[in-house]
């Protein structure tokens, strides 16, 4: 009551600074008062009580660190070990990004995360005509082992854990990384980190691909097999809902499509003859932290419970580690506004807190200027400090799953779980996830949700502060500008690599790769051989495309 009154007073006080009397402001005010739903449109009741804890609540909720892991993957959670603060970084050339890595490590970051540029993600070398204007723009350009070596200069690969966000060409970038480790004297068994490799969500949402779906799935399975045999500390797939959510999915869609992608990789590895308990413990997840606080927390809790149940009951896992879902979180880029950008610091803090209360294992907090450009150093520092404040000042880490047992949170967790199973059934009816992707099913569902959300924003049903309510004159913030000369520098380095290597070695390595692609040998080995003799990413991709073909999306809107 007091809170409601305060909210009313506050709104009256705030309203004149926005756009009084406009339709959208008035509609927004009415909508905010009348509608109680999550941002995904899930209705919320006036109160939740014991009657909302359905089924065998004790078993479903369980204990932290125990099956079904609803309350968290570890018994002591952050009392035992804090989450890894892992800011995603990459821009310009490898020198600039290497400098940013050192900066982040110096400021207390505990793991590295590499963003590659669009040409690298799509398998084009920096001197390819399609790369023009894109080199180093949205991430760092890596063409060959030579670039990878500079990227991790002065960073002992045996001591850090590295995450690499790359999918279609993941096997090639992993090969570069393994070889840099080798040069530093670190065996592949000792390398710790994650490579994204989640190709299904590329077709669904992120849209950076090199091959048709089937050969791409084979390459994923080849990597899983390689990592199972040689890289016990490496996570070969980070099954990602982040991009699915950013593309406009609801929380339930993010949950459902991501888990279903995960099950599909598990099925492929089992079909390959790999023991589920040998690889499942090394699968990890990557979820979005959007602005609807409780819905997000419920989503993470539901994800853990579903994964545990399915791994145990459907896929026959025996080890608890195989059933224990662990995940990285990134705050929602799409929730950031170009208007009044400093407000984004607050949004990011709230989203990060949801990730922490949901039990994340690592976290990236977005910088406040990212709706405008890649972040400046200052903005990145504030984002990292946000995590440090949550970890060290707020006390939320004192006990695992502090919201466990909340009538509301448990009920929302159950509802999201039910929504996910509903989607699993619909996808199975289409013939599984690969077939559903081919038929554009998840793509269409996400498109619908994105359009519907935009309509709610345009109509003022969903308030975005500074965008459809409380607008003010714009404030300018300093932005990071990427020097176009960096592209030339990268293209020159690539030319130097091509000039100094033994081209006959490259040719035979590419011939061997093509031969392996045409057969059914594990492609990781010929890729490693090719990378060793300075074959570029683009050359390897082209060689495989000659065998596998390429992919073109049927655009639906």
């Amino acid at each position: 009551m007091v809170a409601a009154l305060a909210a009313l007073l506050f709104r009256d006080a705030m309203e004149p600074t926005s756009t009084p009397g406009t339709d959208s402001a008035r509609k927004a005010a009415e909508a905010a008062d009348n509608e109680f739903t999550t941002m995904s449109g899930k209705p919320i009741k006036a109160r939740y009580g014991p009657e909302d804890l359905t089924g065998d609540a004790d078993v479903k909720i369980g204990e932290p660190g125990q099956y079904p892991f609803t309350r968290g993957p570890y018994e002591s959670m952050y009392r035992g070990r804090n989450w890894t603060m892992r800011q995603f970084a990459g821009f310009g050339t490898v020198e600039e990004t290497n400098e940013r890595f050192h900066y982040l490590l110096d400021h207390g970051q505990t793991g590295l995360s590499t963003a590659f540029d669009m040409p690298t993600l799509m398998g084009y070398d920096s001197d390819h005509p399609r790369s023009l204007g894109e080199v180093g723009r949205e991430g760092v350009a890596v063409d060959s082992i030579d670039d990878m070596e500079i990227l991790f200069q002065g960073i002992p690969l045996g001591e850090v854990s590295t995450s690499m966000t790359i999918n279609a060409p993941a096997a090639i970038l992993l090969a570069f990384y393994v070889l840099v480790g080798e040069k530093q004297g670190v065996a592949s068994e000792k390398l710790a980190g994650t490579i994204q490799t989640d190709i299904l969500k590329e077709y669904i949402a992120q849209k950076e691909w090199c091959f048709p779906v089937e050969p791409a799935m084979r390459l994923v399975t080849d990597m899983v097999e390689y990592c199972t045999d040689h890289m016990p500390r490496w996570h070969p797939i980070s099954i990602s809902g982040y991009h699915i959510r950013e593309a406009g999915a609801t929380a339930a869609q993010e949950l459902a499509f991501t888990l279903k992608d995960g099950f599909t990789y598990v099925e492929r590895a089992i079909e390959r003859g790999i023991d589920v308990d040998a690889f499942a413990p090394r699968l990890s997840f990557f979820f979005n932290a959007h602005i609807d606080f409780f819905e997000e927390i419920a989503k993470y809790r539901a994800a853990r419970r579903i994964w545990a149940r399915e791994l145990k009951e459907t896929y026959g896992a025996k080890k608890p580690e195989s059933m224990r879902l662990r995940f990285h979180t990134q705050t929602a880029g799409v929730s950031l506004t170009a208007q009044q950008p400093l407000n984004n610091i607050v949004r990011t803090a709230i989203e990060a807190l949801a990730g922490v209360l949901g039990g994340t294992q690592s976290l990236h907090t977005n910088s406040f200027d990212e709706a405008l450009a890649l972040p400046t150093e200052e903005a990145v520092r504030v984002a990292l400090r946000t995590q440090q404040i949550i970890a060290d000042e707020t006390g939320v880490t004192n006990t695992p799953d502090p919201l466990g047992g909340s009538y509301f949170v448990e009920s929302l967790t159950d509802e999201l779980e039910a929504d996910a199973y509903d989607y699993f059934r619909r996808i199975d009816d289409l013939g599984g996830m690969v077939e559903a992707v081919r038929q554009n099913f998840p793509q269409r569902e996400i498109g619908e949700a994105a359009f519907d959300f935009q309509r709610r924003v345009d109509d003022g049903e969903f308030t975005i502060v500074g965008v459809n309510r409380y607008q003010t004159e714009e404030e300018e913030v300093p932005l990071l500008h990427i020097d176009p000369a960096l592209e030339t520098k990268q293209v020159e380095r690539l030319a130097a690599t091509r000039a100094k290597r033994d081209s006959s070695q490259v040719e035979s390595a590419l011939a061997a790769l093509k031969e392996a692609a045409a057969g059914d040998a594990n492609l990781m080995y010929p890729i490693l051989d090719a990378a060793r003799v300075h074959t570029t990413e683009g050359e390897m991709i082209e060689a495989m495309q000659e065998v596998f073909g390429t992919y073109t999306e049927t655009p639906v809107f």
């Binding site: 959208s24 669009m118 040409p119 993600l121 799509m122 084009y124 399609r130 790369s131 023009l132 204007g133 894109e134 723009r137 949205e138 590329e202 949402a205 992120q206 849209k207 950076e208 950013e246 593309a247 406009g248 799409v334 506004t337 170009a338 208007q339 709706a371 405008l372 450009a373 890649l374 498109g447 994105a450 359009f451 935009q454 309509r455 345009d458 975005i464 500074g466 965008v467 459809n468 300018e476 932005l479 500008h481 990427i482 176009p484 073109t552 999306e553 049927t554 655009p555 639906v556 809107f557």
Partner: protein, 142 residues
Amino acid sequence: MSAVAEPKTGRKIRVVVAKPGLDGHDRGAKIIARALRDSGMEVIYTGLHQTPEQIVETVIQEDADAIGVSILSGAHMTLVPRILELLKAEGVDDVLITVGGTIPTRDIDDLKAMGVSGVFTPGSPTDDIVDFIRSGVQRREI
């Protein structure tokens, strides 16, 4: 929704929604494509990863009245001038050009100076974009 008739020929406004470059951020492009279609325009969505050459070819083949270029990769200062150059080389001078995406303020003026009529950054209401294209095309035709 009733069709939006363009005064001179009476046909629907034809808009090419284009995604140049390598990034896959197509959420905005698809929302705009659908909103333009719902408002009665004829929309041709190019799909992802188009080269400037492919986009200009689509504009000519489809005899478009307007083009909405969506870029979130930071490559707008390379790709948009290239599209404009190709349009000019092909003698196309009656197409309304708009750009949407993550475009820093300082680049907006440069893009407008090159011949882009409207630049829409994140948070732009869908209706504003629809209205801008409708009135922009109609003004050109009269």
